[in-house]
Every structure is written in structure tokens, then in C-alpha cells.
């Protein structure tokens, strides 16, 4: 049996991971409370503020700027809701406990949630890009489109770590409140809704501690609309913030299994 397990190896892990992702995605898609806000909020906001309303008159700066920030915002939702609320729910219902008795590799479980957030994020990015390109008339080099998409999708990882930290600690009901607070608070302070240079300086100083700020700035850098911070500094701070979230999550899980 042990030899058998070893032989099943990588392919088996991959198959479970993909199957978990498929069902995680299906499950999330069928949950209107998850699917509707995560897919529609960023798209509607972008449509309203960048395409229809256009603050500051008809210029391409606002639609281009908001493409970067609403893109990051669009990935934040599925990442922290999927992990934060979803994980808390699976823990409260005992589904997580049951899975721990099965041969399901823990990695597949994490992969499925990150994968699901990435799929939702990719759909949002695709819709935003189409709106930007065809409705708002945003023009970027091909390399800029790709860089922007890459940075936005990579944001799934640090954002998932935030969700994981919340989901590992909060009970389901509390998780909904905490995630909403983090979702709205971080987006606002980090300048994902309103350009950060329009916010009071105090808020800009606070924003430094949030991964959303750094990802927003990295995305804006692609189109030369960032505040001018160093890429490396953004990356280092993102790394530290993610490590802190993962440590908090790990402590939460340890407490859970010791109970």
C-alpha cells in the first residue's frame, strides 16, 4: 500500500487538485452571495466610473488608471471571500474535519481555493479589459496588457493569504463581517476605488501596511501612473505581509487541531 501511494505520486496529486478546483469553482458559482458581488462589483464600478461617468472630463487617464486599480480590486473579492468566508464555513460545518480524515492532500485543498479565486479573477480581468479596450478606448502596448493581467492575477496569492488568516481564526458569521470590513477598508485606503493621490496624506501613510496598496502601485507602474515607489520595496513589503498572514493562519490551524 505504501509503495502504491508513492507510485501514485504527482499525477494523482494533480488529478485531485484539479478535481477539487472544479468542484470548488462549481460550488462558488452556484452561490449567488459569492458569485454576484465578486463578478459584478468591479465590472459595474469600472463601467460607471471609468466608462460612463468619467471624472475630470473625457480623457484616457481615468479609464486607464482605473483599469489597473479595479483589476486588483476584482481579484481581491474572490480571494478573500473564498478563503475567509469559505474556509470558516467549512470549518464550522465540519467539512474540513471530514476532509482531514480522507487521503485528500492539504495542498489540493489550498490549490482549489487559489485556483477558484484565479478563475473568478481572470473572468473579471477579461471583462474589464474588453470594456477598457472597446468601450472606454484605452490604448496600451501589447506588453502592457499582458503585464497588467499578470500582476493582477498574481495578486491572488497575497490576497488568498489574507483570507486564509481570517478564515483560520474567525467563525463563519464573524468571518463575513471581518472579510467585508477588510475588503472595503483595504480597497478604499489603498486607492483601489478613488485614486490614492486624491486621498488625505494620512491614509496614504496607512496604506503602506496593506498588500492591496502595493499591488495597486505595481499595476499602476505598468502604465506609469503610480506614485513612484521602488518595485523592489513593494515586493519586499508584499512578501513580509504575506508571510505574516501565513503565520497567523498557521497559528489558527494549530489551535483548531489542538482543541
Amino acid at each position: 500500500m505504501t509503495a502504491n501511494t508513492a507510485r501514485r505520486g504527482l499525477l494523482w496529486h494533480l488529478r485531485i487538485a484539479l478535481l477539487e478546483t472544479r468542484f470548488q469553482f462549481l460550488s462558488s458559482l452556484r452561490l449567488p452571495a459569492f458569485a454576484v458581488p465578486t463578478l459584478l462589483f468591479p465590472v459595474f464600478f469600472y463601467l460607471f466610473f471609468a466608462v460612463v461617468f468619467q471624472p475630470g472630463g473625457p480623457s484616457l487617464v481615468a479609464p486607464t488608471y482605473m483599469l489597473a486599480t479595479y483589476g486588483v480590486f476584482g481579484v481581491l473579492g474572490p480571494s478573500i471571500f473564498g478563503f475567509g468566508v469559505g474556509l470558516a464555513e467549512e470549518r464550522d460545518t465540519g467539512a474540513l474535519l471530514l476532509k482531514r480524515t480522507t487521503p485528500m492532500p492539504a495542498g489540493a485543498f489550498l490549490f482549489a481555493r487559489v485556483g477558484t479565486a484565479a478563475i473568478f479573477g481572470a473572468v473579471v480581468v477579461a471583462v474589464l479589459f474588453l470594456l477598457a479596450g472597446f468601450a472606454a478606448g484605452v490604448e496600451l502596448h501589447r506588453s502592457q496588457w499582458f503585464s497588467l493581467a499578470g500582476i493582477i492575477l498574481a495578486a491572488v496569492l497575497p490576497f488568498s493569504a489574507i483570507g486564509l488568516a481570517i478564515g483560520a481564526w474567525a467563525k463563519q458569521q464573524a468571518a463575513v463581517a471581518v472579510v467585508n470590513l477588510v475588503f472595503i477598508g483595504m480597497s478604499l485606503i489603498s486607492g483601489l476605488w478613488v485614486p490614492i493621490y486624491m486621498l488625505p496624506n494620512v491614509m496614504q501613510d496607512i496604506a503602506i501596511v496593506f498588500p492591496t496598496f502595493h499591488l495597486g502601485q505595481l499595476a499602476l507602474k505598468v502604465i506609469d501612473l503610480d506614485l513612484g515607489g521602488s518595485v523592489w520595496l513593494h515586493l519586499v513589503l508584499l512578501g513580509v505581509q504575506t508571510a505574516v498572514c501565513l503565520a497567523v493562519a498557521a497559528a489558527g490551524f494549530r489551535r483548531f487541531s489542538g482543541r
Binding site: M1, T2, N4, T5, R8, R15, I16, L19, E20, F23, L26, S27, S28, R30, L31, E90, T93, G94, A95, L97, L98, R100, T101, T102, P103, M104, S257, G258, R259
Partner: protein, 307 residues
């Protein structure tokens, strides 16, 4: 009782296991052995430590002291998970997936899972295969959890209060399936506080009370271990007085009736008639598992007093 040295047939077991939740001692140096091919019922009242014991054997709870082995390995070892199934007491699965989707996922975890049709049949879920888990009744959900426990065709299956919340029909069906598991050479551990259930299904019963194993044996053993007869009547004799009878193994009041469990019903009756010549509605019957259980765990001031 011949006991202790772990027999070669032991498939899983706890030895000298104590477990604390804060100040509460949930398990107190518990020894528990699961033998190849048996149905072991872990019987006890709520809070006895049944679920804690099962959680330690499943590896979902971290062992604090003592040892836990399953198939000779740690309970959460990868090869153990492949050969073991579990139905937890408090558990659900995501509500937006259908029964068939949940089964597909769980079947994929194992090298030789049972066919989906067979699982649906066993759990009585054929008509519900495309229904979402969230739309099922409590009993139906319970049946899904049972099917998930068996998805991998496990050699050893843990069922933590499997029939809680099932109607009579559902319970009978589950009993039949547990018997079928045993007939197929599988081993099952079920926890229950349904005494009837332990009696109907188990080859062996382990009675746990306040975290300790207080009796272990076949259902017949457990019954004979306690006195053997129940004297039941309406009387003015108080339970306290009845407990002071040296022959009384357990005393309960049920409505107007006083029930005395004893190996020597004649002696008990002589004492009772001496104290209350007017006692009425008298029956003397063989002890059922329920009475046996009461006498064993049963706030058995009677049994503590003697010995």
C-alpha cells in the same frame, strides 16, 4: 476476562490515552482495542468521551498522552487514510454541490473506490443523486455522510453516532448496511448511545463512562456482567433504601415504578416485602441492555457501595 497484551488481530487501538479540554478530563487512561473483522460499539452517555476517542483514532485531534495506532501506524498517516473511512458526528459538506458530485470527489481520493451506483444504493440515495446537499433533509444528509465514509471501500470504518437524526426506516437500512460491511469482512467502530443499536449490531461493546472504559465484552457479556433480573414495582420504598440492599446492582425510578437490577431477585423481593407489604404492579424480567447499561454507568451508587 482475559485482557491486556494487544492481540495480533488488533487493527487499531488506544492505550493509556488521557485527554483534557482545559480543566475537563475527557479521557482518563483509556484503553480501547479494535479487532479485525468486528463491529465494535463504543457505548456511553453524552459527554462520556466517545467522540474524543474516535477523533484520536482518526487523527483529527492531537494526542496528548498515551498511544494511538491504526494499522500499526499513526492515525493520520497517509496509508491509514487510504484504508479507512469516517462518518463524523458533526459534519456537513458544501451545500451547493449535488450528492453525485460529492461522491465523485470522495471516490477520487481512493485507489479502488466503490462504484457510485453501489454507494447510492447502500445509502438509499438513488433518487437524490442530483439533488444539492443543501436541499436535503437532516436524515438524507446523514445518509450522504455514510456514503462518503464508504466511498473508498475502507477496511476500517468509523461511524460516530451514525443513526442520530434518522427515522426508523433509515436506521434499519443503515443497520443492514453495517451488517453487510461486516459480512464483507470489513471492520467497523460505531459510537452510540442507542443501546438497542449496540445490541443489534455489535460483536463487542466497550462501555465508556467519564472517559474510562468501564466494561467490555459481547452484548451477552455486558448483560450477564450486571445482575440479570429487573424487579419492577410500585412501592413506598425509596431509591435510597433500595440502593442499600446488598443484592442491588442498580436502582432507577421510572414514573411511579421503582426498578432494581439484581442477580438475586428472590432476596431483593424478600427485603422489599418486609419493608412494604403493600407493593404492587410487580414484574420480574430478564435484564435488557438498557438496564445493563444503567447498572454499569448508571449513577450506580448501588454497585459502587459493594464490591
Amino acid at each position: 476476562m482475559p485482557s491486556e497484551p494487544p492481540s495480533p488481530a488488533a487493527l487499531a487501538g488506544l492505550s493509556g490515552v488521557s485527554h483534557r479540554y482545559g480543566d475537563v478530563l475527557a479521557l482518563d487512561r483509556l484503553d480501547l482495542e479494535v479487532r479485525q473483522g468486528e463491529v465494535l460499539a463504543v457505548l456511553g452517555p453524552n459527554g462520556a468521551g466517545k467522540t474524543t476517542a474516535v477523533s484520536l483514532l482518526l487523527g483529527t485531534l492531537t494526542l496528548q498522552s498515551g498511544t494511538a495506532r491504526v494499522f500499526g501506524s499513526a492515525p493520520d498517516a497517509a496509508n491509514v487514510r487510504l484504508r479507512r473511512g469516517a462518518m463524523l458526528q458533526v459534519s456537513g459538506v458544501p451545500e451547493t454541490l449535488t450528492v453525485a458530485e460529492h461522491l465523485a470527489l470522495f471516490r477520487a481520493y481512493y485507489p479502488s473506490p466503490l462504484p457510485t451506483a453501489r454507494l447510492l444504493e447502500m445509502a438509499g440515495l438513488r433518487e437524490l443523486r442530483d439533488r444539492r446537499f443543501g436541499k436535503l433533509s437532516g436524515g438524507q444528509k446523514q445518509r450522504v455522510m455514510f456514503a462518503l465514509a464508504l466511498a473508498g471501500d475502507p477496511e476500517l470504518v468509523f461511524l460516530d453516532e451514525p443513526t442520530a437524526g434518522l427515522d426508523l426506516d433509515g436506521r434499519r437500512r443503515l443497520w443492514d448496511e453495517i451488517r453487510a460491511l461486516k459480512a464483507a469482512g470489513r471492520t467497523a467502530v460505531l459510537t452510540t448511545h442507542y443501546l438497542e443499536e449496540a445490541d443489534a449490531l455489535a460483536d463487542r461493546i466497550a462501555v465508556i463512562h467519564r472517559g474510562r472504559l468501564i466494561a467490555e465484552g459481547s452484548p451477552e457479556d455486558i448483560k450477564s456482567r450486571t445482575a440479570g433480573r429487573v424487579v419492577r414495582c410500585v412501592t413506598t420504598i425509596t431509591p435510597e433504601t433500595a440502593r442499600s440492599f446488598p443484592e442491588a446492582a442498580g436502582v432507577e425510578t421510572k414514573g411511579q415504578h421503582l426498578e432494581v437490577v439484581t442477580a438475586e431477585p428472590e432476596a431483593v423481593l424478600r427485603r422489599m416485602f418486609a419493608l412494604d407489604p403493600e407493593l404492587g404492579d410487580l414484574t420480574v424480567v430478564g435484564v435488557g441492555l438498557e438496564e445493563a447499561f444503567l447498572a454499569l454507568t448508571g449513577d450506580g451508587a448501588g454497585s459502587d457501595g459493594e464490591a
